[in-house]
Symmetry: D2
């Protein structure tokens, strides 16, 4: 398969399309991004690596970070984490308190805000210096020792984060948060503020396309079984209220963020990261979805 040709061809189609949607401007800092950015990067399990457009520019990965968090928690604690957070799609907007009340404090999955907050609580309870440990984990899987949080973004989110404060205190009142809400939220806002390029993201997710093992240095990050589970989870829950649509249109496990990034994984083949800041009504990158749909159509690649 000539991936370069296909990337070029899809880019030529998607780039000039009208850029519909909105920026995630409820977070002040994210509202300042250039809406016309478009970058793509592909990394294959046989060590092929290729990007196009703004693939080397940093952006706020936001919720994509939740995949790193759950991988680190899974690696650290094993199957025990699934007692604190479920693995089912939520069927509701990503930050709804309603379902949480019905489910007695057990979030539906680790990719809705409630679930990621519980994962943060788990990491704080089990790691000595959780922020450092988290950074080290992401640096290792992306082979980039310089990745770091963006304090400005974290502060910006915190300044308007009333709903997440509500969520965390609500779960605490339901008994599923061990630490003080303030500490948990500080970690959570930090984690979402991570900035990466498409290239870095694509590389960081490659072990999930490779049975849990890094391609670069063969280091095992997760077991095969754990890897399969994380991929299944991204498939069913990775796109908020549009997970079914993504499975339907793209047919690969993946995760999106309100910064406009999307990463998808084709097991045994490749990982791919796309970035375009304008979001559709469900909060997923408009052109990112379009690019991946056409890319998987052209490559006839899909797990289904």
């Amino acid at each position: 398969m000539n991936y370069k040709e296909i990337l070029d061809r899809v880019m030529a189609v998607v780039k000039p399309e009208e850029n519909i949607g909105h920026l995630a401007n409820y977070i002040p800092e994210l509202g300042k991004v250039n809406p016309n950015k478009l970058g793509v990067h592909l990394s294959t399990t046989n060590n092929f690596d290729l990007g196009i457009g703004d693939n080397l520019e940093k952006f706020s990965i936001q919720s994509i970070s939740k995949v790193f968090a759950v991988c680190l928690a899974y690696k650290t604690m094993g199957e025990g984490i699934w007692k604190r957070v479920d693995v089912e799609p939520s069927g509701n907007p990503f930050n709804s308190l309603v379902q949480l009340e019905a489910d007695k404090g057990i979030p539906r999955n680790p990719f809705i805000n409630a679930g990621a907050i519980v994962i943060c609580d788990i990491l704080i309870s089990h790691l000595e210096k959780p922020k450092e440990a988290f950074l080290n984990f992401v640096r290792e899987i992306s082979d980039n020792p310089e990745l770091t949080f963006c304090q400005k973004i974290a502060d910006s989110e915190k300044s308007v984060g009333y709903r997440n404060i509500a969520l965390c205190n609500f779960i605490k009142s339901l008994g599923n948060i061990e630490n003080e809400p303030e500490e948990v939220l500080d970690f959570y806002f930090c984690l979402c503020s991570l900035e990466m390029t498409c290239q870095e993201l694509s590389k960081a997710f490659l072990f999930l396309a490779n049975g849990g093992q890094k391609v670069s240095d063969k280091k095992v990050i997760l077991t095969k079984r754990q890897t399969k589970r994380i991929n299944a989870l991204m498939q069913t829950c990775g796109f908020y209220d549009e997970s079914g649509e993504f499975a339907f249109e793209v047919g690969l496990p993946g995760k999106s963020g309100v910064g406009g990034g999307i990463v998808a994984v084709f097991p045994n083949n490749y990982s791919i990261a796309v970035w375009s800041p304008m979001l559709n009504a469900k909060g997923n990158s408009y052109k990112g979805m379009m690019f991946l749909e056409q890319f998987t159509t052209e490559t006839e690649a899909s797990i289904f």
Copy 2:
């Protein structure tokens, strides 16, 4: 891969396990089934065909029939069906009215009861003799011209079907049912009463593992793109409130029924049908889930 050996080995493990759960005895006729039945049948895209246990015994396929219904509607009407029913997981017990009210009469997906009822309404509007047309469709894909509805089961369900009557009238009041509720429900109860063996089920689903084309006579049932979508839908929504768990444990698209049947599809490889009548708390076959989990572990087969 020596499938026979693996089937034997998994059967040897699962068969003697304690048979936990309950029969679907809210439908009187289903409460009369022998709870210890266990059958499995596998059909591969390269024409290999193999069964074990009670694989040749008829059972009530119940909700598995919803896959046939949506395939026929998709084939008949094309993409238009997705205006009447969505493709997102429901995140709620399979027959909840709550979500339907929030979603204004558009069921979350065609595999919850509400969605299947809307699909029935679509089929009635577009087919001259919907019951016959439906039977002919299932007979064709299973290469068995003798398949038929079980009136006794249909009547049994109807006699206690107050919740489905409520559902159908509720959707009608919300404007998403075109025909008279009584006619729609009559078709719906019929459809769920279909009786098949594991062998027949496995064969009937094989085209979904083969890009939409039957293996036996090469006839095209659905396009590749349509097939991919149906598989994606089974992956995210096929197991009621346990779809995430199934993706997690088994890692294949599939569909279950309260009669104790489960069918799963491994694209480009095989379809497999399992039957064991005792259900877990979420309404899926207890030993069926166990069998498929161990089978996919042994074969290391999973789309993830």
Copy 3:
């Protein structure tokens, strides 16, 4: 208190006001009513009786009938009825299925549709000829042996009554309906089709302002304690999602119907019936509410 003068004065203010709102045209027959009708009738416990405007014209009393139904059930069965239906405000639009599911089939109160349907079921179980018995009861309390159902209205409601069919079957599935849904609904639609004038309505409610005893012939309909309870129920639940607003603005127990009628009771003083067909957004008569608010302001009459 010179009631005649006050009625005249309030009428002079309310009559020329712009008539805002909509007819209950989801029931075809109710959409045909002259929207500018306005009638008022007052009956006092010391036998004073006075009307104004269209007070002698028949209209469809609709949900006001639910008060007669619960009075008859209470009289017939005593406190036992409160095991089948609760006495709490619903806090939700009057026909919502959501709350019913949460409350496991026990409707919040007898004045929401679900509750009135359960009351119908109770009456069918306990009375030999429920329709006749019901008519006889209303005829007796209104001293009018000619009151009767309007089959045309009943049929009109039935023809679009999918939501009530859904409700009744849903409650049946939750175990709180004893008879066949079809029979219960037939009775329910009949009951709502009752046609009365403001004068008849005002007279029929007078026993509730008189400790349970008719003023005309001293016949005891309900005990004092029962009467107090029905009044309390009308106070907290008589106006759908606007019960608090009515208590707030008018300060009397009462009941409204989508035909544009409202009846209110001032214990130990009077009952008053108002009719004006245009409804506000919550389904209560726009000018009816306005009239009662000004009337109680002028008379300085309120239970608070």
Copy 4:
């Protein structure tokens, strides 16, 4: 009416009854109260004043304080407060977040926690020193210049107040809180910590039985119209999920608190305060409810 005789008689019946229920021990300090306390105090509009049992002992009035808060806000801001908080019963447990989400941040009424928090926000925005102003208001209406907050109780509630923190931040995220959640909550916890005796409470509520005017010094606290509205509000919303039951059993406007206090008002007649710390399943004083039910039965006093 010989109130003394009736109070004695009812006390003689209620006192020896088994004391069923639980203390509000989710607030540590409230769990330490002697569960067998029972006090009653009655104040009439013609200046009669009478108590029995532990009527002179201080207890934590908790939610009863919400009546003072809404009266002060109403007095200060007039009808404008009803744009920020509704006047409808909630139909749901008193601290549910679900309904708030559906109602877009406008709490159903000022007596659920969400509503009282919004009232606190209003008071902070409109009063220079809200805590002092609030204390002065309560001191004035109770003719007791020494009433004060209990810091120990306030701190105790704060230490476990995660759900209220969640509530306040949630409403802030929905746009209906103007000040910083921390400041609003500090005021809210303070307000709930007020300690009063039955005598003080009964006196403080007497103006609501007297058309808004104090009996002691004729000072007008609220207009007649405002007073009627507050009473209507207590009638429909004063007892959490048991407001209908209270209207049904007691038939007077009132307000309860989880400290075991209940105050009720009989317009133009009296106010009465009862205290007994053991709570029924809905969070209202078990013996308090029993006392008031029997008292209104004996006196045949009820607004209905």
